[in-house]
Amino acid sequence: MIARFLLAVGLAILMVISGTTSYVYLSSRQSRAVAAPQKPTDPTPRAQQFTLPGTIYLAQSGALYSFSAGRFHQLTGEAGWTQPALFPDGSQLLAVKRSALFSDVYVLTRFGNVTSQLTNNQAPARSRWDTGANAWSFYPRLSPDQRTLYMSYDGPKAAGNGYFNVVMEVWGIPLGGQIRQGRSWTTANDYTGGDMQPLPLPGGGLIYTKYSYDSNANRVGQLWYTNRAGSAGKALTSTGANCAQPALSPDGHNLAMICNYGKQVSYLTIASWNGSSLGPLQTVISDQLVAQPIWAPDGSGIAYLAPGGPAAPFQLWWLPKARYAPPPPPVPSPTPGGPHNGPAPTPSPTAAPTPPLVKPIQLTTNLGFDATSSLAWSG
């Protein structure tokens, strides 16, 4: 009898343990699809051991990070930081610090220390119902001579309560100057969101993304070019291509961008650039949701953000140059043995070898970069 009693007690204990374990185990389980992104500086998973030249600056969860030699370094706290951009001489960073009602542009060292605040967009509420006196500044860039700050800016707004047409225009202000010293370079279309992502060009002028309505009343993005403040400018891409996020190659002869052709896709697209117009659009990647392309400073490829899996957060990817600029086919060498006097040999009908498709390389996993934040890359 004692043996049976002991057995029963043992079984009861075993059942409690296994039942509790089962419950606790299931509670701790979570599919990868819903797992929160890790911090880039977490020891695992490490970025792939793939060394890119220079240092890439990017944003996640309101913090800026640098990525060099396969390692991430956190530059700022998680305090609304986004959209880093390098000074043209590579000495410092511009970045946006975003709050609930406004955002401002700051200068930071390459190690993330704030050295100055370039805009002051905070404004007192005009009433309980009207916080519209605040302003947003996004996508800051410096002119090549480092004397003018360009950014998307939605102020100043003279209109008061009930003014719904909030649009961004590209503004240029002297670096270190006040907003009243600046002026709008573009004229935004009403109720579209406006003009974003200015890209100052070496020879003066700007490329930027302009949002407008197409003939079917869908809102679309287009790359535009303007060579001076206030000029009408011209469209570089069609409304049908729906392109945005321009990035100029280091040699200044090519432009990378994303285009979605009105669908829930985002193709990595490149085109040649001659200083005033674009060549034909060439889709380079069409099977990923590509965001924020940026050229390597040495021209060896393009980095970009894209989900690490279906409907997943955005990771850092790298596309070697061979994918979009395959090496030219080899020039046939002369037939050895000197001049041939007989009848010309018939060329064999073999097809030219197809170059192997170069696949993009996923550099990070389980992270969650801010895909609305442009990347910056120093050499």
Binding site: R4, L7, L11, M15, V16, S18, G19, T20, S22, Y23, L26, R29, Q30, S31, A33, V34, A36, A100, L101, S103, R128, W129, D130, G132, N134, W136, F138, G162, F164, N165, V166, V167, M168, Y191, T192, G193, G194, M196, Y211, Y213, A217, R219, V220, A244, I258, Q264, S266, L289, Q292, A306, P307, P310, A311, A312, P313, F314, G368, D370, A371, T372
Partner: protein, 340 residues
Amino acid sequence: MPFGFKPGHRARASRRRLSPFRTLTIALLAVALSAAAGGFAYFIPAAVTAFNATAQVVKIPSPSPGGLFFSPSPSPSEAPQSQGAFTVLLLGSDDDSKFFADHVLTQSMILVRVVPATKEVTMLSIPRDLYAHLSTGGFGKIDGAYSYGGAGAAIATVQQDFNVHIDDYIWVGLLGLIKVIDAIGGIDVVTTNPVLDDYYPADVYGGDPYGYQRVAVLAGPQHLDGLHAMEYVRSRHGDLQSDFGRSKRQQQVLTAIRQKAKQLSPEDIPSLAAAIGGELKTSIGLDRVARLVPLAASFDNPDSIRTIVLVPPYTHGGGPGGSVTPNWSLILPLVHQYFP
């Protein structure tokens, strides 16, 4: 012979003493049963939520008395359910402290028709400000139907005005959508343009149901959490198309949620159930939900989902009280085509 020992005792004792094999079998069985019980206990809250949220009984009121209105369409008829097709009315509401419980406006009304055999999905967004005959009587903005008579009134209104047969409804509260998107780990969306709004309601986390806040959802591909997805689909002031533009964004986010839902696994169910607790109601029974999940997963191509927004000339502004006036002569043939 020992004292007290009787013939036959040894045999009975040996029967009572379990063999090691039987002991092991019983132990394994007990462990398996208790582990299953632990797992069952883990899923109980989800099951309770599911039971509470699903199979809601809907009382569809009969059409309001004749003579009060001229209905632009005949009374709804039982549409032939070709190839197992069914129509669901999706309702989305502000359910913050501005409103009494379950007397809320439906900011979003989307008719969804699913044809499993051909894997066709059609989503038709009904403008919230559409000036329509309400099943509860009289005319008004169609978003008021739910507030006057709950889901039944909303269904009856859409059925009688659009001449469609609605099989089921799903209602989601504002916070529910935020929580659901967070519970599934966010969604990937290509936002069409910067959505900027200086007068976005501060009723979710702003602490003032009548206050406003600024929002800026930037354009392009991105991974949205619940709050920012809500800002994207709810803002309408910065949109020339106002509610129509918002309807397009709502359809976009619904498609993204469906895409993400395909990545989930059973272990995510409890957190999902906790997220939707009290924020989701549907007339669809649990058994049908179980059948619909694999069906939803089989729809692979988001571009195959047909989306319809009743922009002009199907509607035009300037109706009473800021409402949108329907052009029934255009709307009804369109609805008949896609919601036969």
